[in-house]
Amino acid sequence: MGIKNKAIVTISSVLLFTILVAVSHSQNLGQGAGALVFNVSLGGTQTLSYSIFDGGGAPISYTVSPPQYNPIKNETTPTVTVSPTSGVLQPSQSATVYVTVRMPATNKAGIRWDGIMQVLAATNASNPGGAVIQGGLGKEVIIYSKLPPAPNYGPLLYVIIGIAIAACIVGGVLYAFKFRKGPGGKGKPKYKYVTVKKRVRVKA
């Protein structure tokens, strides 16, 4: 085979290989492993986060959807919001997804909800007469309801105690000063009674 024919074969092979490789491979969207577990006080909120990243060689547009939960009788499903709800990841870039849970105050403590939230790689593909396959990552989101914590008075309590101690000390010192001992050994009050004798002239 001549050099020219060899070149044609090589080019054709390269083109064919390129076409085969280019046939439908979605991007490498990745995330940290492990479920998100929330313990949320009744009437309170809690926020957790995790990372997603682009492990491939092309940008990935993505959307984020909060989890859906099956309803529980006599309980109100907690409100779950995610941020961001969409974005674009560049190759080797990561992003943080924040998940916030708000627990209704009317729920009981000790209830558990379990659902899957998703980060999907956007696709513009269309396939009339067939199906389009869209890839993504799922994250299990588990929520527990708990009783609110007892109030923490913090530094205010110590200030009050300090004032009370100081008041007791000052009062004790003043009391001791008031009833200080004089000659005779016994402490005298501040005031004393004085007997006044008055001479009266009576006409005989």
Partner: protein, 174 residues
């Protein structure tokens, strides 16, 4: 006079003790240093690196063509599969869901459940109906071995002829 002085002295001692006690409690509660630590030089420096566990998703192919299927007929699974490659360092489980089939004439549709998935190349009737709610297939996609999900389609009886399309979503849960 001496008794008076002793009372004042006793009061001063009690006051001092109370102030010192309160100060100690305050500093312990709020983490203030009670003493200044002497400069120390660690003999060794230890570095630690935490490598988190991650999973990825890469699907091939990203389109499925079932060809021409007449009403009341279904496809076999051969050649209709999607390979899920996980290039992370931790395993993942494959979950699936989808939407209804919608015709080029959008007034024409048929249900998502007419698409079925399976963990092997099996008959259409042995597959699981696809739903609009994400469902675990039980198939694992690990860094060592990709996962494969097989797909089939059945056309409802009497379905109007048209060109229909569907979206199928495959996610790796880790």
């Amino acid at each position: 006079m001496y008794a008076n002085s002793s009372k004042l002295l006793g009061g001063a001692i009690v006051a001092t003790a109370a102030i010192v006690t309160f100060s100690i409690l305050f500093m312990v509660q709020f983490g203030l240093p009670l003493a200044f630590a002497a400069n120390q030089i660690a003999p060794n420096v230890i570095l630690t690196v935490n490598v988190p566990t991650v999973c990825e998703v890469s699907l091939s192919p990203t389109t499925l063509n079932f060809g021409t299927v007449i009403p009341s007929q279904n496809t076999i699974y051969t050649n209709q599969n999607v390979i899920d490659t996980n290039n992370g360092n931790g395993g993942a489980t494959i979950w699936v869901y989808g939407g209804n089939w919608i015709g080029a004439n959008t007034a024409l549709t048929f249900g998502v459940a007419n698409t079925t998935w399976a963990t092997s190349n099996t008959a259409y009737g042995s597959g699981h109906a696809l739903t609009q709610i994400s469902t675990s297939t039980g198939v694992s996609a690990t860094p060592q071995a990709p996962g494969t999900v097989w797909w089939g389609l059945g056309i409802p009886a009497g379905q109007t002829a048209n060109v229909y399309s569907q979206n199928i979503i495959i996610t790796n849960v880790c």
